[in-house]
Amino acid sequence: MPQIAQLADTYASQIFWLVLFFGFTFLVIGRHMVPKVMATVEARERQIGSDLAAAEAARKAADAAEKDWAAQSARQRAEAHALIASAKVDAARATEAGLAVAGRTIDGRLAEADARIAAARDSARAEIETVASEAAGAIVTRLAGISVDAGAAQAAVKEVLHG
């Protein structure tokens, strides 16, 4: 068995070269290169983690934005409804006021027109009385041949006309 037969001759050489090569393996590969490889792995895992976190945050933000939007749209709809309602009330009130003004104007005009009609009727009636008394005077003069006093004729006509 060479492991034992050659032990005395070769142990120093084997130990020396093993220490040398394993030392190189440990110092250069183990201490220097392996941490870099593992740092790459860690960086990747951190990146994946942060990406996932960012995606989660974005999802939450989107949810919140959607909720905000829904609340805002509901609020705006309510505002719009309130606005429409108040506009309706305003319009109704304005219409009412307009109608009232117009009604008052019309009433005024009607009253004026009534007054005018009444005046016209009075003057027409007065004229008719004058004409009728004159006519009655003329008729009496022609029929009876008596001249009637204008005042008496007028009183007679007024009596007949007004009962």
Binding site: P2, A12, S13, L18, G30, M33, V37
Partner: protein, 254 residues
């Protein structure tokens, strides 16, 4: 057994350190090949790409494997041992696998040499691991580290026996660590050599023996070759696993 023989390549006479001959042998050559291959393997995985390629993925899966091994057996404190355990595991793995390459098929004079089939080598690695366990254990816990020899729930009346048993099992660790790897490697290679000698000898003694003995031996050899590749990986894993378990004792006591 000549496959385990150490042959000096150069520096036989005049290379010495403190009076010891440190000739560059085939063992040193295969260590150099293993370390170069390992360096090349890891270097190919250092591209720092966010989306890894195949090679980077392979290297990252190895570092991740060691990282998980230590995280599972030692916990968060095991992270700092990743460089050592990775070096240990990969060095042993590369030495084991490179020693299985059938270079004889190429027809040249080149022969593979399994560095880990020498207990001088596995012994140095085991002593290294054991020393780290001792240093870490005493540095972290001081003399309290000796409580490792009194497991939880030891009955009072067994206190004279259990620590002795625990101490022996603790002291046996470097030997079992070194011998397990060395024996597994050597046994596999010897088995392959014995079977191949069966194939050659029986074939030379005639067609009948060649069919009766040689052919089954050859088929068995194929199966055992596959088994040896498995063993090469498993023994490296066992060495790294046991070292991390011992480190767990040193880090966390019980």
């Amino acid at each position: 057994m000549h496959q385990f023989t150490i042959r000096p390549l150069f520096g036989t006479d005049h290379w010495a350190l403190l009076g010891h001959n440190i000739a560059f042998t085939n063992s040193a050559l295969w260590m150099a090949i293993a370390v170069t291959a390992l360096w090349f393997f890891v270097f190919g995985g250092m591209k720092h790409e966010l989306v890894p390629g195949r090679w980077q993925m392979a290297v990252e899966s190895m570092t991740g494997f060691i990282d998980n091994l230590l995280a599972a057996n030692v916990g968060p404190a095991g992270r700092k041992y990743v460089p050592y355990i990775f070096s240990l595991f990969m060095f042993i793995l590369f030495c084991n696998v490179l020693g299985l390459i059938p270079l004889g098929l190429l027809g040249g004079k080149a022969q593979p040499f399994t560095v880990t089939s020498h207990f001088t080598v596995t012994g140095v690695l085991a002593i290294l691991s054991f020393s780290i366990v001792l240093v870490v254990g005493f540095a972290r816990h001081g003399f309290h580290f000796f409580s490792l020899f009194v497991p939880h729930g030891t009955p009072i009346w067994l206190l004279w026996l259990i620590p002795v048993v625990e101490l022996i099992s603790f002291l046996v660790r470097p030997f079992s660590l070194a011998l397990r790897l060395f024996v597994a490697m050597m046994a596999g290679h010897v088995l392959l050599e014995v079977l191949s000698s069966f194939v050659i000898t029986s074939t030379q003694s005639g067609a009948l023996w060649g069919t009766v003995v040689g052919l089954p031996s050859f088929l068995l050899m194929i199966a055992i070759c596959a088994l040896e590749i498995l063993v090469a990986g498993i023994q490296a894993y066992v060495f790294a696993l046991l070292t991390s378990l011992y480190l767990n004792d040193a880090e966390n006591l019980h």
